[in-house]
Each structure stands twice: as structure tokens, then as C-alpha cells.
Symmetry: none
Subunit: 204 residues, 2 copies
């Protein structure tokens, strides 16, 4: 009949609450004390009651400060480590993006060269005002085309023993141009504006 099951809720009765607070506080501190003794751990408890002017600090203000300094130190270290981790992660991201950017630049250069080549095929006089690097790139590209053409012709000649022709090169150039045209210019720093892109997708 005594000892009804205590309901876990705020005790509105003032005196009862204060009495409960005192009792439980004592029990709690005893618990902490026992834990410290039994398991040799650093533990502290800080309890503020609006009903009590003094906060209860176990094992002592000094001891509590010691424990919480340790805790603060550890969390700070963790925070720094986290920051470090994030930083290295971001640096990895940047490196990755930079690599991709370099790739895109290279492809873009090739595309430009291809455009010039096509233009030159249509109107040879337009090649007059090209810079030396452009001409170099153009020549190396043409070399690549020629190599590709040689390989294709070799395959064709092995399979069907056909005579040489001028058609394959032209087709190859057109195919290449079409392929590169499929690539969107998201990473094309040579032509895209300098504005930042706004990410609107969820969870980024």
C-alpha cells in the first residue's frame, strides 16, 4: 500500500519536489562516488536546481573543473581532427575537380583544333592567321588522324583487300567532330562565363 509507483513527470507540489530533489541528489552523488571507486573512473556531476541557490558539484568544484577540462580538451582535439579531415577531404575534391578541368581543357583544345581544321579544309586561306601553338596542335592532330587512317585502312585491306581512298579520313573527321559536340560545356572554362552555378538539388 505504501510506495506507489512514481510517475516520471515534473512534481508540481513544491515541498514534495524539494524533498525529492534532496534525496535523489544524495543518491546520485553516492552513485557517482561508487562508480569512481569501483571502476577507477574520472566522473563528475553538476546539478542546478532553481530551488537551490548553490549548484551541487561532485566530487568538488575543482575536481569537476579538472574533469570538464579533460572533456573540453578532448572535444577540441576531436573538433580539430574533424576539421583536418574535412579539409583534406575538400582538398581531395578540389584536386579531383582540377584534374577533370584539365581533361576538359585538353579536350576543348582538341575540339578547337578540329574546328580550325574543318574550317581550313573548307577555306584554306583562313589558316594564315593562326599562332604557332595552334599550328603545332593542328599538325599533331593531323598526324593523329593520319595514324588513325592508316590503322583503319590496314584493317580494311586485311579484311577485304580494297584499294586506298580519300573517303575514310573525311568520315573520321566528321565522326570525331560529332562525338565531341555531344559534350556539354559545363566545364568549358574557355567559353563559359565566370558566374558561380547555383546548386538546387536536394541533399548537397
Amino acid at each position: 500500500m505504501m510506495r506507489k509507483k512514481v510517475k516520471l513527470a515534473y512534481i508540481t507540489n513544491n515541498a514534495a519536489r524539494k524533498a525529492m530533489y534532496k534525496k535523489r541528489k544524495m543518491g546520485l552523488i553516492k552513485e557517482v562516488s561508487e562508480l569512481r571507486t569501483l571502476c577507477n573512473v574520472d566522473a563528475c556531476a553538476i546539478i542546478y536546481s532553481p530551488d537551490d541557490s548553490q549548484p551541487e558539484v561532485y566530487p568538488s568544484p575543482l575536481g569537476a573543473v579538472r574533469v570538464l577540462a579533460k572533456f573540453k580538451n578532448m572535444t577540441e582535439k576531436k573538433h580539430i581532427k574533424k576539421m583536418r579531415d574535412q579539409e583534406s577531404f575538400l582538398q581531395q575534391c578540389i584536386a579531383k575537380v582540377n584534374e577533370e578541368l584539365e581533361n576538359r581543357r585538353k579536350k576543348n583544345r582538341e575540339k578547337e583544333i578540329t574546328k580550325l581544321l574543318l574550317k581550313g579544309l573548307v577555306a584554306p586561306s583562313s589558316l594564315q592567321d593562326l599562332s604557332l601553338p595552334d599550328l603545332n596542335g593542328l599538325s599533331s592532330l593531323i598526324d593523329l588522324y593520319l595514324k588513325d587512317i592508316d590503322q583503319r585502312m590496314e584493317k580494311l585491306s586485311l579484311g577485304q583487300t580494297q584499294e586506298e581512298d580519300c573517303k575514310p579520313p573525311t568520315v573520321a573527321v566528321q565522326v570525331e567532330a560529332a562525338t565531341t559536340a555531344e559534350c556539354p560545356s559545363e566545364f568549358d572554362d574557355q567559353h563559359a562565363g565566370g558566374g558561380a552555378t547555383a546548386a538546387t538539388g536536394p541533399g548537397i
Copy 2:
């Protein structure tokens, strides 16, 4: 047969200690939680186990930091107040000591004057090379002596109707000199050296 009464001491058995730690930690946290709920108090607990890499922080690292910031703030305020109190206490001490010092200086001056007076009585020519303040002090001291003599003689004449004599003054001077000679020169800043005195007594 089960459940022997647990001895309140460090559990040397490793596994048993760890198991105990986990169980009691849980219980402790539950207690803190209930206290918070039942009495609406701000309470936190921080527990470090050497067996555990992570410290246990209730209600949460953030919550604990909040509570301990409150505590730190309060203790700092207290500390400042304590410092203030100590400061004012020390100032009071200093004032007291200064007062006593001034007293001692005064007595010392009187003693010096007495010495000069006695010297002068033995060899009157030695009064020649005294400074004006010394002479002034000497004269006022003589005035005091004379006053004292008058009073004593009055008492004597009232009690015994005796004739005036020159003996009492001399006796008075000797008594006074003897009395002042009993005072050790601990606070005698006029003659003591400037070295600090070493306190060797216990509990100071």
C-alpha cells in the same frame, strides 16, 4: 547464494569491472535523467573510463557544455568575489599593521628621546649637537615628565602631606626607561635591518 554484498573497492578483475562500469553507468544516467525530469533541474554527468575511448557525456556534449558553462561562469563570479573579499581583507590587514607600525615608531621616537635625556643628565654637553626636532621632542617629553611628576606629587601630598622633593622625577625617568627597555625591537624600523624575517612557526 547469489548476490553477495559488493565491497566498495576497485574491482581488479578486468571483465567484471567493465561489466560493472557499463551497468552502473546506465543506471547513473537514468538517475540523472529522472532527476532532471522530476525536479526540472539542469544536471549533467561526465564519465571517463580508462577502459573506454569515448567519455560518457549526459545529457549530450552540447547540453553538458551548457551546464558547465553556467557553472564556470558562476564559479568565476564567485572567484572574483572571493578575490575581492581577500583583497579587502588584506588591505584591512595592511592598514592594521601600518597603524601598529606607526605606534611602534612613535614609541621608538620616545625611547630615543628618553635615551638622549638620560645621556644629557649624565653629560649635559652632549645635548649640543641635537637637531631642532630632537630638541623639540625632548622638551615636550620633559613637559610630560613634569606633568606626571606634578600628578604623582599631588597624589602623594593628598595621601601623606609630604614636602616636595627632587627624587620622584628621577625615579620616574628610570622606571620609564626600564619599562620601554622591555619592548623588543621587532617593529623598530629605525634600527632593524631591511632583511625579511623568516617565519619558522607552524601553521602560518
